[in-house]
Subunit: 402 residues, 4 copies
Amino acid sequence: MSLPLRTALPDPALPSASDPLTVAADLARRLGDTANARDRAGGHAAQERGWIRDSGLLTLSIPEAYGGQGADWPTVLHAVRILARADSALAHVFGFHHLQLAGIALYGTPPQQRRFLTQTVDQQLFWGNALNPLDRRTTAVDTGDGFRLDGVKSFSSGSVGSDWLTVSAWHAATGTALIGVLPTRQAGVAVQADWDAFGQKQTDSGNVHFDAVALPADQVLQAPGVAATPQSTLRSQVAQLIMTNLYLGIAEGAFEAARAYTVDEARPWFASGAPSAAADPLIQHRFGQLWLKLRPAAVLADQAARELERLFRLGPDVTARQRGELAVAGAEAKVLAHVASIDISNQMFELTGARSTSARYGYDRFWRNARVHTLHDPVDYKIRDLGRHALDGSLPEPTAYS
Amino acid sequence: MSLPLRTALPDPALPSASDPLTVAADLARRLGDTANARDRAGGHAAQERGWIRDSGLLTLSIPEAYGGQGADWPTVLHAVRILARADSALAHVFGFHHLQLAGIALYGTPPQQRRFLTQTVDQQLFWGNALNPLDRRTTAVDTGDGFRLDGVKSFSSGSVGSDWLTVSAWHAATGTALIGVLPTRQAGVAVQADWDAFGQKQTDSGNVHFDAVALPADQVLQAPGVAATPQSTLRSQVAQLIMTNLYLGIAEGAFEAARAYTVDEARPWFASGAPSAAADPLIQHRFGQLWLKLRPAAVLADQAARELERLFRLGPDVTARQRGELAVAGAEAKVLAHVASIDISNQMFELTGARSTSARYGYDRFWRNARVHTLHDPVDYKIRDLGRHALDGSLPEPTAYS
Amino acid sequence: MSLPLRTALPDPALPSASDPLTVAADLARRLGDTANARDRAGGHAAQERGWIRDSGLLTLSIPEAYGGQGADWPTVLHAVRILARADSALAHVFGFHHLQLAGIALYGTPPQQRRFLTQTVDQQLFWGNALNPLDRRTTAVDTGDGFRLDGVKSFSSGSVGSDWLTVSAWHAATGTALIGVLPTRQAGVAVQADWDAFGQKQTDSGNVHFDAVALPADQVLQAPGVAATPQSTLRSQVAQLIMTNLYLGIAEGAFEAARAYTVDEARPWFASGAPSAAADPLIQHRFGQLWLKLRPAAVLADQAARELERLFRLGPDVTARQRGELAVAGAEAKVLAHVASIDISNQMFELTGARSTSARYGYDRFWRNARVHTLHDPVDYKIRDLGRHALDGSLPEPTAYS
Amino acid sequence: MSLPLRTALPDPALPSASDPLTVAADLARRLGDTANARDRAGGHAAQERGWIRDSGLLTLSIPEAYGGQGADWPTVLHAVRILARADSALAHVFGFHHLQLAGIALYGTPPQQRRFLTQTVDQQLFWGNALNPLDRRTTAVDTGDGFRLDGVKSFSSGSVGSDWLTVSAWHAATGTALIGVLPTRQAGVAVQADWDAFGQKQTDSGNVHFDAVALPADQVLQAPGVAATPQSTLRSQVAQLIMTNLYLGIAEGAFEAARAYTVDEARPWFASGAPSAAADPLIQHRFGQLWLKLRPAAVLADQAARELERLFRLGPDVTARQRGELAVAGAEAKVLAHVASIDISNQMFELTGARSTSARYGYDRFWRNARVHTLHDPVDYKIRDLGRHALDGSLPEPTAYS
């Protein structure tokens, strides 16, 4: 399922078997073998999450000081993209694991960083997400030495099978949300495997229920009432770029499937007069159009990833303006990747034809995965934000989505 | 699942419970109740095909002289569209039943018409398709009193569970294809329930195998070496318009699903400032754009249906030019309906959002059904045919696809 | 410049030289000879307006009872379209003349209708427009036996060279606009030939100044404070359909120019391998796509024209619902015609190539004319209105634009 | 007319008044003041070409060794883009001057380079183009010490007012084209100011006639029968990237005009409920969509420019594969810039509305300029080339257009 170098977006040079992108490519190949079958079955991919753990890639983004591999964001995001070409559900679980780690780095105190990141390396922890600030159904009440959490959190990606969770909860006393971390198997936490979307089936994105769950003060990353900073709100830019690279991976996977099928299996249409499907000018032209969706999305995503890396390293020195300009660059890349993933996974069938719809290929999974995942936040509002920026230079307001 | 009159393409007045479109609407309602569940299960819908049979609609297109209901093509095609809003797989089985009957009317001698159409009424026969002239793997050899058929035929819509089949076979001696009719349960005919596409799952469109099957001379509708006439080649226009109305039905079903969800269930995006999703100007605008895909497709399809009816009644008097101009009108409508079904079933999710991807709605079936069915023949060649026509007035060459 | 019957939207049968559409086609041919030159020169086309007058077509929409030709709206609108293929500026002047007559029929009392329509026939009057309710700079003050008008009115199409004007003026006492008619050469009326848009140059659409102009009571069509009725607000639907047919005429003219150039003058691109430009599959495909913009727009425009005719004849019996549904049908047709005229006049050059940009063809005038005229009211709000209608069945609010 | 830094594609830091991009920006400002008026007048812009000469920018791409400024290609192309924002006709004349210099560098011998480039610096020569290999009407016949040229060459950009010309001529004896350089005022050379396209009016791109013109051997850059090399065919990539940056400049100029008009002059549509045009969500959304045309085109053009620079410096060591991959990158950028310039210059009016079509703004010139210039070679064949590349990795065949 890896794209041949000659046609597609070349991965950076992969010098050795221990290079993380080589590791990711190997893992992608292995996941690709069963991706179609697992898409049909759905459910929790315990074995395959084990492979991810075994690959060592769970420590990819963790600084070397804490025992991690200290990879930069372009590398981490590229790994997400490589996995997503083959299996965008597990790529999401993988990407969101690193999003939780980013949250610790961005919100946590140095001791918290040391504790949780070291622990993640030592115990090969898998992190899941229960942070969704638009969903106020989980509440936090002060208990003196921390908080008590109650309620439910939906769209909790990677929660099933995780070791620890990042969680947000509504704190009525201050009218703000706190953010903390919790072991998934703590008393009162119930993770439900009830995710039933028609795509991204194995993302373990169901509901998490909290019943009188104790959150100790030293596990609170952002206390209630504490204002977000340009640094802390970089977290949503990490999330947006993970999704962007996930869409790109789907787009690249679909493109390569269409390409290989056209070259290897498709027959020329009888009225075309072409000796092969790949020699048909109308097919060549449509491939060219889809290529022009893919390439700019990839180039702008890579630019934004480099800028994220730069700002991430600035730490508390990052300014609101820098953060806002990154949000613009990220929004540009995300909309292009959104469109690329949807258009390629949709239109590929005009190129490959009726026989390519057989379940033995499972090519519809590209569209279903792209379609489900691209609904994280409405693309029309991302486009509107870009329009506002173009009109008067205004920067997107920092939210969980921008 | 029927569209509310106020918003959508109104069906003609439905005067009484015995009116065929009322019957179709009732049947659609019943099919709609389980369409999502049956889409997931796939396979042969024996019970539901029984409902179609019980509805009496199998005789809809048969002239009253043979005991049928004598409906015109606009009515038959409208019934296909109504069923497709709720269940495009069974709508296809239903439509292709009438396509086989059209073939008998267009190719058959008067005695053949009398025999097979009367029999269809008397025995409530369900017809399936094994006619696919691009597939020459089924051969016909002269036997003196008819032909012996051997080989296989793919994409045989409605073959499973059918009573009779229309079949084409390659006759090497003349280098042409013959067309005949056969009882499905005749010795040597083996229908395989091996259709496994990711959409239109219950169309029973698998392979039919022929092993030394005897085709008597009086069951041959078009003998080898006999030239097609403008009249006989109307059959492919019937097929094209059935598909056009099927795409329209899918488009209308998806549009109505999106509309109802937006009005009844969707929440306004927090950054929109709108009091409801339905009041969001960006949502209203996108609905307007999708509406502008749907309406012209429906209007042009209805125009082409009326023209088909007119030419069908002309019988042998239809000219090549009339037939060609119908093919142009049909191509226009088919491309528009193709685009409408794909764009609406794809973009509806930008309107309905993440929660609408739950399996409990099964809204992805609209796209999967449209995507599989619209690959019958390449849309880019239909557009090219229209371009040629626009350039120099040339009419599409009569084929099984144009 | 008339479209060859074989390729384009055929005009209804033109039985005799006195048939109005034959007359329009002859006039179009004559206007077409100098359209390119006059587009470059701009200004007032006195001679050509004389030809229109001489053709007799100024009485086309006037009932036979008043000495007119009593043509129905489909015929009048078709004449607009035919003229617009050759010269969309003069087609606009012609169409808006009939819009003023429609206003008299819709707003005027029977005696007013008799007086002004008879006079129009007898004196071959040419009417211009100074009705623009969004522009409140012209005021009306009661004078006892009528009103005194002061101020200025912009976008007054056809005002230069007109005999009579329809005018709207803001009546502060009631907070409403009145509508009346005035001889253009009346004291205090100053028509400025100051229209300077980059397209539709000869529409004479400049500013009209009113300086203590007396408007007698019997020339008031709609008095201040009188509520608009479903009948009277049909006027904006007449206006919208005139514009729709104007856009269609431009689209058809551009399409035919591209077609003829491609067939007669274009050379095949050296890398295409095609023997001629017209045989190039990529060119054929793009012509097909443009054809699919043109045809649905024309079909829907014709449907809406028939419905306008029906409601126009209902007179005071027309209901708000009927009027609203016509507005929906008109909006559908207008958006499609807008898109067709812009896309065809813009994309035609991808088909005809560099040499077709020579001033000797003047093919850019199609885009300039379409571009200027399609800005009458924002297309995005028309699309939004259709989205609202699709969502909840709401009908566009009657305004001067919907 | 320069874009405000906050919204648009920021130019690289402009350190001092002598920085070439500062010089270009100043020159653009000066050209912008009269661009609308000169667009209407057309003809040869002698005075403004004098300003370009006086700016010193004619030596921008010439190596310092020959007395030039030694700017890299990204800088030269950026200067083209800056000028094109204000005046794309003179930007073309400027860009094609540097194309001729590139041709000398790529084809010429070291002595030829020294001679012609030094002379260009010393005499501030302005170069024009008479090289158009598809046009074989100019022939070269051997004369012993060189060649005699006869015939005509069309589309000779910048020829009027030039000092020297690059010329191609068909050499029948070898069946190949030679390339040479000539003083424009040499006997037998007649430059006609007969360019009459509806856009890019002041590019001086008329016909050049050759009547027994002597071309000495030492002015032949590429002799007949000499095979093109990867290095020499870089010339067409320089040409393609000049055009790409020209389209981008037009797109940026149109975007900025629309932005400024919307913010400063446009009124909100009465039905929008928005307090200003710039606050209308439908307008913001459309600006966002246009921004997403502009940004990727600029980013990919800049990437391709850097790659051109790298290969240009490799000189004879550049390989066919490197050259081909540059052609792919250039094609990607050129198609995106083509689409951006056409879509923005066309759609800007949906945002700015009817009043913005006044001749006092002259905003239609963006579309006319983009429309004429983007027809240099067919975009559909560039897209097809990209499709072929995506399908099997094939690289565009080196031609004058790819």
